[in-house]
């Protein structure tokens, strides 16, 4: 094997291991010392070491076990360098015990959920809990997370560092919370899973492997939570919502890779198995008798799927669901979608008025869906000049080339 082939294979193996097990490795490394940042650093160094070692010595049969062993040695080195005397002895003891446990056990225990609950602990600032879970469990970088949360990358980076320090210094536990604490903590965990799914969802074509995996990882985490808490209606609602969206993945692009909006999708391309699973989850959730944000969003998906059987969307139900959702969480993103649904029941003029109420929100000036929605509604009212301008901004803000092409086509279809 030539050296470049060896390099390529090493890189592929490392990438696959990272996708499969990044969070699992961080969770396992951090669980004993609660030092998430050190676990991340050690793991990152282990990956770097792998790219030097594997091309020379061949890829190991269990890349995860190899990475874990190297990462733990790095963590012991960090601890030696940072501390002296008795304090370090305690930490080194913990690390050494873990090393033995890992050597004895071929299967790395999955402590991702425990790590997520540590990140969603009440001692951690509310706004940073979800980004923290995305970073430490899924390995997303701060810039990507910042964009998903409409925040500046520098500010996001600082807040993530502070939160990790707090976990370590304040001794935030890694584990499943007590029953009475669980609902509140679960909410933060679900929010993070949904945000992860949203990030994965932006790559509809599935060309960006890391992103596609993110959606799958989010579904995986969603399933994990429902397995742990089968009686939690919002966890079921979130899983249903994600599965409904996943079911339409294939229909979101045509054979040329062009973006197809929901209203123009061919229901025959939707995955009926996923839809059925999602519907069953929603039924299970509603039987538990406590409505919430994710169940409502799941029900919205369900109202769109209604078209598969009847040929038309139940828009009145959609608007009603958005009304309820807006009361519950008041998010500007929900308000945009509500305005688009209003366009179907009361016309584009009423929808524009609803959208106008959001215009003062500074965060939306750089939010593509706001401008795309505005452009679409303006076009329908015949205000072509304004629509063209709004499309221009939306195109400038979009990062997915297929969606950009779609917006450009809509823009050029405007009558002059």
């Amino acid at each position: 094997m030539s050296s470049s082939e060896g390099d390529l294979q090493a890189r592929r193996t490392a990438e696959a291991a990272a996708r499969r097990s990044y969070g699992k490795l961080v969770a396992f490394l951090a669980a004993r010392t609660r030092d998430v940042a050190a676990a991340e650093d050690a793991l990152s160094e282990a990956f770097t070491a792998a790219l030097t070692d594997w091309p020379r010595n061949g890829c190991p049969s269990s890349p995860e076990a190899w990475l874990l062993t190297v990462a733990r040695r790095k963590m012991i080195d960090f601890a030696r360098r940072r501390h002296s005397g008795e304090m370090a002895a305690g930490q080194l003891q913990l690390l050494a015990e873990g090393l033995e446990a890992a050597a004895a056990d071929a299967e790395i225990p999955d402590q991702r959920l425990a790590l997520m609950f540590a990140c969603a602990h009440p001692a951690i600032e509310v706004g940073i809990r979800a980004p923290l879970i995305l970073q430490v469990v899924l390995g997303l970088d701060a810039a990507l997370i910042a964009s998903a949360f409409l925040m500046s990358p520098a500010a996001m980076g600082q807040r993530l560092v502070r939160a990790k320090n707090k976990i370590r210094q304040a001794g935030v536990p890694f584990g499943i919370p007590r029953t009475d604490d669980l609902p509140g903590r679960l909410e933060a965990v679900l929010e993070a899973i949904y945000a992860a799914f949203g990030e994965g969802w932006t790559d509809a074509g599935g060309t960006d492997v890391a992103r596609r995996d993110l959606a799958e990882e989010a579904v995986f985490l969603g399933r994990l939570v429902t397995e742990l808490r089968p009686e939690e209606p919002e966890a079921l609602g979130l899983l249903a919502l994600m599965l409904h969206a996943e079911a339409r993945r294939r229909a979101r692009r045509n054979e040329h890779g062009d973006y197809v909006p929901l209203a123009e999708q061919d229901p025959a391309l939707w995955d009926s198995q996923l839809i059925n699973e999602a519907e069953a989850l929603l039924v299970r959730a509603s039987a538990l008798g406590s409505i919430g944000r994710y169940q409502l969003e799941g029900a919205l998906q369900s109202a769109h799927v209604y078209r598969r059987r009847t040929g038309h969307v139940n828009w009145a139900a959609v608007v009603e669901l958005y009304d309820a959702l807006l009361v519950l969480c008041g998010s500007p993103v929900v308000a945009i979608n509500r305005a688009l649904a209003i366009a179907e029941t009361q016309g584009a003029g009423a929808a524009l008025e609803a959208l106008q109420e959001l215009a003062a929100d500074a965060r939306l000036t750089q939010y593509q869906p706001y401008w795309a929605a505005r452009a679409e509604l303006l076009a329908r009212t015949g205000a072509c000049g304004e629509a063209r301008q709004a499309y221009e901004i939306a195109i400038g803000l979009e990062r997915d080339p297929a969606v950009r092409r779609f917006l450009q086509q809509r823009q050029s279809a405007l009558t002059p």
Partner: protein, 117 residues
Amino acid sequence: MQYLLMLYVNEGGWSKLTQAQQEQGVAAYAAYTEAIKKAGVLKGSNRLQGSSTATTVRIANGKSQVLNGPYADSKEQLGGYYLIDVPDLDAALSWAARCPAASHGVVEVRPIWPMAV
């Protein structure tokens, strides 16, 4: 890990209580202290004389300044502490929640930053 539970309470509140209420209050603290001792987590505990007995010192421009009164003049004052040794923050928080001061004041929970030996 060791945590310091700092009890911040409204000092004026005590004198407004009836004698029976005061006895009840003392009994509640005694029971709490007993429980935390029995659990084997107590490392140290004390109450403090009122903040009117406090004196603050600081050196500014090479000169010492001695001021009468507590550092922070707020409605609730540091009135006592418990130093405990427990596995993690959740355990510390559950002891803080049981403390009578959590009901009539505030309990701040701070991890101890150990000194290198």
